[in-house]
Symmetry: C2
């Protein structure tokens, strides 16, 4: 039997976990998937399970897995992890290998930062989109695009920050934001700017936990204290979210900007730009026709109608129809030039 | 002080929670946000905290909140909840009210089905999109649209099922799927059909937990056992997800269909339909021009080129440009009719 045990956010074992661990032949413990919640975690855990030794293992040991599977094949082995034990891909893979070898597995779940985070910030968990980890690379396009996709849907994004246990390295929130700003320079969807609201949740589950909210320029000067930190780029707030976040950060509920309103769909930008362009070109085409003494009333009326439709469709959220309509209007007008019937500038 | 304590998935208290609860003046317990993990939960919890009484309260009591806040204002009150205590909106609102009244609050997080679910199914938590609750209404458009939006991004969707503690009512997975099929009939994005892969996680955190995977038609005939159940509509799998899910459900990793490949963006459907229509109309327009003895070579060439561009843009994932291009091609061609230059059928 191989039992995966989550230590939650405070490295505190439940009575059920204590019972299971006391029956184990060997207890392994890793802290490479997230930092330990308390100093000397092995000793503290050991003291909760009648002094049974707790063996700290590193990523290579878990990835190889043979040391753990050997114990589990003939007896009971446990692997302890901070948070929820199954959030890490390496653990999932170890469980798959155990299943394939006919070793029974069991999971004692622990509280995870992913489920604790919304509540800590006063936000609703069903308003979060996909979560993503920011790593220490200078450009963070994956994280950037994840936040963008979430904001387009009005959703909040949880940004986990890289943790390297071998170097005791935590990616700082400031560096993470800097690399997202570098991605902004490159991609330019308008996701990150001086007005972007950033939330930080620090040391969640510990006695000195804190949450902070600031616009990006101010955020980069905030003192956040010791790691671990998690960032949230919120999307559109529900009224009760504003109230909760306001109460928790001592700000007025109305203060919090809506990051979602700052990003625009490509289709919205297109419709905006091309309806203006088409209407201006239509004006010139009408003048050119007048000058030339020709009439294309049906064409012109349709150009005008479809440009108007495009704006209306966009306002109704029918973005595909909006783009189709403005493309059609442009085509109608341009055909007169291609057919050699009229000369006018776009 | 008001302490929110999460009982996790097995109603088992951590040593830290036990210590905190033993210091409380009154301990409240609710099971309306999710069903209790064990029978007689109050008694079991009470026995873990030196026999201190545990008072079961209902939704109205928590929503009103005054009974809890009164104790918290002058002493220590605790509110126990299954899972994580802050997933519920009512609890978040109670915390906001406490903060406003100057009452300190503290959260002892518990394992939540939301963070436990990915690991139980061998899926990666960062491949999940927004989660949603399916209620007992006959149409479930919100859930339907959430799954659709997630599938378009290749993401998995967790579907929580309605639980009404006052009636001890669990929405059954079968009824939930039926109502999603009813929404499919109405909306027709192709999200739910006989080939849709559905995953069920039942009784997670308990001794008799189970996970099952089946295509929708087979799924509706599966015996899932006692509640609680959670459903997942998976999107695109990572290789390691296929392997883990296969090992856990005794299926070949290659068996699992990709639900994401079955849904199409509206833009893809548009480009597909309109390029075919435009190419056919172009053919007829060319014949009509030949018969009439007129030439619109520039127009025709551009119609052809922009229709081709549209298909290429779509293949490159540039959906807005693809729709714009096919709209433009249609407009170019149609203008000849509006200008009275050529008669042909669309």
């Amino acid at each position: 039997l191989l039992i995966f045990v989550g230590l939650g956010l405070d490295s505190s074992l439940s009575s059920q976990a204590i019972k299971a661990l006391e029956e184990c032949d060997e207890v392994f413990y890793e802290d490479y998937t997230s930092p330990p919640a308390v100093p000397n975690a092995e000793e503290r855990i050991s003291s909760q399970i009648s002094g049974k030794p707790v063996r700290k293992v590193d990523r290579d040991f878990v990835e190889s897995g043979s040391g753990i599977l050997k114990v589990a094949a003939s007896g009971h082995a446990a692997l302890l992890s901070p948070g929820d034990p199954m959030i890490a891909t390496t653990h999932e893979e170890l469980r798959t290998r155990a299943s394939r070898q006919g070793i029974a597995t069991k999971i004692l779940h622990g509280a995870s930062i992913l489920s604790a985070l919304p509540g800590e910030l006063g936000l609703h968990s069903y308003n979060f989109g996909r979560c993503v980890t920011v790593t220490s690379g200078p450009l963070q396009h994956t994280a950037y695009n994840t936040v963008y996709a979430n904001l387009l849907q009005g959703l909040h994004s949880a940004l986990l920050l890289e943790w390297d246990s071998s170097r005791k390295f935590f990616l700082s929130p400031r560096t993470a934001i800097d690399s997202l700003l570098a991605s902004e320079k490159d991609i330019q969807y308008g996701v990150f700017g001086q007005e972007t609201l950033v939330l930080a949740a620090s040391r969640i589950g510990r006695g000195d936990s804190a949450i902070q909210a600031a616009k990006l320029d101010e955020f980069q000067r905030l003192e956040l204290g010791d790691p671990p930190h998690v960032l949230v780029i919120p999307g559109r707030f529900h009224l009760t979210e504003r109230e909760a976040l306001g109460a928790l950060t001592n700000k007025e509920p109305g203060w919090f900007p809506d990051n979602s309103s700052m990003v625009r769909r490509l289709s919205a930008t297109m419709v905006d730009r091309y309806t203006k362009k088409t209407e201006a070109a239509l004006e010139r085409a009408r003048e050119a026709a007048k000058k030339k003494g020709v009439r294309f009333a049906d064409v012109f009326e349709n150009v005008e109608a479809y440009a108007k439709d495009s704006v209306r469709f966009m306002a109704e959220g029918k973005e595909e129809l909006a783009v189709l309509s403005i493309g059609y209007a442009e085509g109608l007008l341009d055909s007169l030039r291609f057919a050699g019937l009229l000369e006018f500038e776009w």
